[in-house]
Symmetry: C2
Subunit: 255 residues, 2 copies
């Protein structure tokens, strides 16, 4: 196969857009996608005609509404989020703190929902943001419930440090993951920034497999984990039930 | 140009997915995209390798997380929605009714956010859903604030009827649009279903142009428009301010 097949070239135009590059000129796109200006012009034209890109009055390109509509069908993106939203809203109403939904992609978490609370913490995460698994509450949950192979390859890989509190020792991380499985929730205490703490709990699919995680992020100062954890767990279980999960070991009582 | 250029063929694979077709087999995709099985196989492979599609254990394809992440950068999709969400949440907390955010695409509204309220109305709209402009509250707002050319072409086109209350008379629709501009909000009274009413108000960009609309949908029985309209207007103005809009005619007072 051609190392830059036609599909790859077209997709490289879409991949030119990221959180730091949401508005691009044709020249930007050709440079970031590694395409000649002629090829970029042709592909951008096709994507714009279709609605995957939109061109504003100044000639700058943005991601278009039609791509968003199709992406809204993603079961792990908006579809999960839409099903989870009432439970996230309830968690928000109960705590008035920052509430998140996240899924795992490889060695990272991707935030698929973020409801902003009243307290501002020094964390600027937005929908679509990615973080390494070992630093956030949702990441610890998704890592703790990943396959043994995932956990082993993750723990033996480089563990990036963001603050003096980030756990970067493999043995300590393994103990932390065991605690997460035992407790049913994870706490990330100032592992991302110096002032924030998050509490997270797993969302399970029909077969009991962990498919996502829910969390709240609060200022570490005055954070009450014992108060937050039950609320987060109830929300996560509510979403799990909506997905078809049933708690194990509770046999239905006969008449 | 080839009527089915390489970009068009690839995009036709994505377009095979819609709200009624969120999970497709390779055969489904080839049929819906009008491609041979061989071509579909090659393109689906490229899209899956890139992350635009995901294949589950049963071999069925879904829209993938990576497409969703890029689509999250769409200024009229998730970016607007993310900025608007706190105001939509406030409107939800104040009313506990179904709250929506929508933008216009041609002659249709596209719902980009939907918070579900306590009351169930016979309207099943989800994020990404489309409706003709003349039937919903948000559609009436976006049509009323469209260009004269849009309004004229819309009003002289076919006006689909959904209920006996749907306004399908062009002259009546024009009067309704004038009322919407004068009042600052639109009411769709049982125009979509027999039992639902929506109240909508415009969201403006920095230059005063209407870029989106906010609404609540309630059961028509017992709906209090006089109570809902101010709340919807306040939420819409809040989002407008967050977008950089300032109300006209209020000169800053000098010292």
């Amino acid at each position: 196969m051609n190392p830059r097949s036609a599909p790859d070239r077209l997709l490289s135009v879409l991949a030119a857009f990221d959180q730091d590059h949401t508005a691009l000129s044709l020249t930007d796109i050709s440079r970031r996608a590694g395409l000649t200006l002629t090829t970029a012009h042709r592909l951008v034209g096709a994507l714009t005609a279709w609605g995957a890109l939109e061109r504003d009055a100044s000639g700058t390109y943005h991601v278009g509404l039609r791509l968003w509509e199709i992406a809204a069908l993603s079961p792990r993106g908006l579809a999960l989020r839409q099903l989870a939203l009432p439970y996230l809203e309830d968690l928000y109403e109960a705590t008035h703190e920052n509430v998140q939904l996240a899924v795992r992609d490889g060695h990272e978490v991707v935030y698929t929902e973020w409801l902003s609370g009243r307290s501002s913490v020094g964390v600027h995460i937005r929908v679509g943001a990615r973080w390494p698994l070992h630093v956030t509450g949702v990441g610890l949950v998704l890592l703790a419930h990943g396959t043994p192979e995932l956990q082993e390859s993750y723990c033996t890989g480089p563990l990036t440090s963001f603050t003096p509190h980030t756990v970067t020792d493999p043995a300590r991380l393994r103990r932390l993951l065991a605690d997460v499985r035992r407790a049913g929730f994870a706490v990330s205490d100032r592992q991302v920034t110096d002032d924030a703490l998050s509490v997270a709990s797993p969302v399970r699919g029909p077969g009991g497999e962990v498919v996502a995680a829910v969390s709240v992020v609060v200022p570490e100062q005055g954070a009450q984990v014992a108060v937050l954890a039950p609320a987060v767990r109830v929300a996560a279980r509510g979403i799990s039930r909506a997905l078809g999960w049933r708690p194990p070991g509770r046999a239905a009582c006969g008449p």
